[in-house]
């Protein structure tokens, strides 16, 4: 390799490193902007207390140590109702490995409890229209839309949030990935 070629190669490598550094810096800034915009990803889930169908207060932190899927739903929300059988199946399939679903209902309490009983929901349904609305906001909802799901890791950190239904494939892949 001639000295000229060596110099050119060194310059190109230096340029490439500068570009990579710039790109990484830009990505960091973007991530910081996301955080500034209120994304809760990577942050500890806030403590939330909601009432179950027996009238007992239930704190979110009691499920610490499990992979927790908080699925906000309502009986008046067609995509929510459509999604629930998938969540029932997931709860049965992965419960023994430390996966837990909870379903706060943004709905009339009696309507939600009756519906959950009719379709044999196998995970806790939490009730209270106004309280559930507040809980949704504190867990990152900015749309006022259902279904809204929040995945919380075993350490209590928010892993991801999603508006809209899960596909079976996405949900299964997600659970498997985070149960390992």
């Amino acid at each position: 390799m001639t000295p000229n070629r060596l110099r050119q190669t060194a310059l190109l490598i230096a340029g490439a490193l500068l570009l990579i550094g710039g790109a990484l810096g830009l990505r960091k800034l973007t991530a910081e902007n996301d955080a500034a915009r209120g994304s809760l990803i990577g942050r500890p889930a806030p403590e939330i207390t909601l009432t179950d169908s027996n009238g007992q207060p239930q704190r979110l932190s009691q499920w610490r140590g499990q992979l927790l899927l908080v699925n906000f739903w309502a009986t008046w929300c067609a995509p929510c109702v459509h999604e629930i059988p998938l969540l029932i199946d997931a709860q049965a399939r992965w419960r023994e490995r430390g996966f837990q679903v909870i379903g706060p209902a943004l709905d009339d309490s009696a309507a939600a409890a009756t519906y959950a009983s009719q379709i044999a929901v196998n995970y806790p349904i939490l009730l209270g229209d106004a309280q559930v609305s507040e809980a949704m906001k504190s867990l990152g909802d900015t749309l006022g839309a259902l279904p809204y799901s929040v995945l919380i890791g075993r350490d209590g950190t928010i892993i991801a949030t999603q508006h809209g239904e899960f596909s079976k494939e996405d949900l299964h892949a997600l659970i498997e990935r985070h149960l390992q």
Binding site: L12, W76, L143
Partner: protein
């Protein structure tokens, strides 16, 4: 000719190396940016909030105008969204007589998974109600969905009513 071509060979190699380096740098930059983003999207396909609108933009009501005994209210569902006709309720807040629907668009018949066979409104609609006197404010209850994606929580808005001058006969 043969000897004349020789000096070109290193130049071609340098250009090829440069191209390879640039391609390599490009791939590294791409990896640096894409890999962490994929890791941060554990739900797989990017179906989250990105292209969904907050309820304030998806379902809009207002303005409310009154003229000659008729209250006119404008409402609009953004593209891909709809309002439930039967769940659209307007009340006056000043204790005056109840509003009577004069002209409510028939809407589109829709087989709703929850509510059965219902009527929905897409796009902009104008609703007319009978009100002998101009209400100062009205309360509007409404509900709607982004089709096949999400449904918005029932909404409650209070709006001022703007009385318009009645044209002289």
């Amino acid at each position: 000719m043969h000897t004349g071509n020789r000096p070109l060979q290193p130049t071609v190699n340098v250009q090829r190396s440069r191209r390879q380096l640039i391609a390599g740098a490009g791939a590294l930059i791409l990896l640096a940016n894409v890999a962490p983003l994929r890791a941060a999207s554990p739900f797989g396909s990017p179906r989250s909030a990105g292209d969904l609108l907050p309820v304030e933009q998806a379902l809009r009501v207002g303005p409310a105008l009154w003229q000659s005994g008729v209250l006119t209210l404008h409402a609009e569902a953004a593209a891909g969204c709809y309002l439930y006709r039967e769940r659209f309720v307007v009340e006056r807040l000043d204790g005056g007589e109840a509003l009577q629907g004069l002209q409510l668009p028939a809407g589109e018949r829709y087989a709703d998974e929850n509510f059965g066979d219902v009527a929905i409104w897409r796009g902009a609609v104008v609703l007319s109600y009978a009100a002998a006197t101009a209400p100062a404010r009205i309360r509007v209850r409404f509900q709607g969905c982004a089709e096949g994606r999400v449904c918005y929580a029932p909404q409650l808005r209070e709006l001022p009513v703007q009385p318009l001058e009645t044209a002289a006969p």
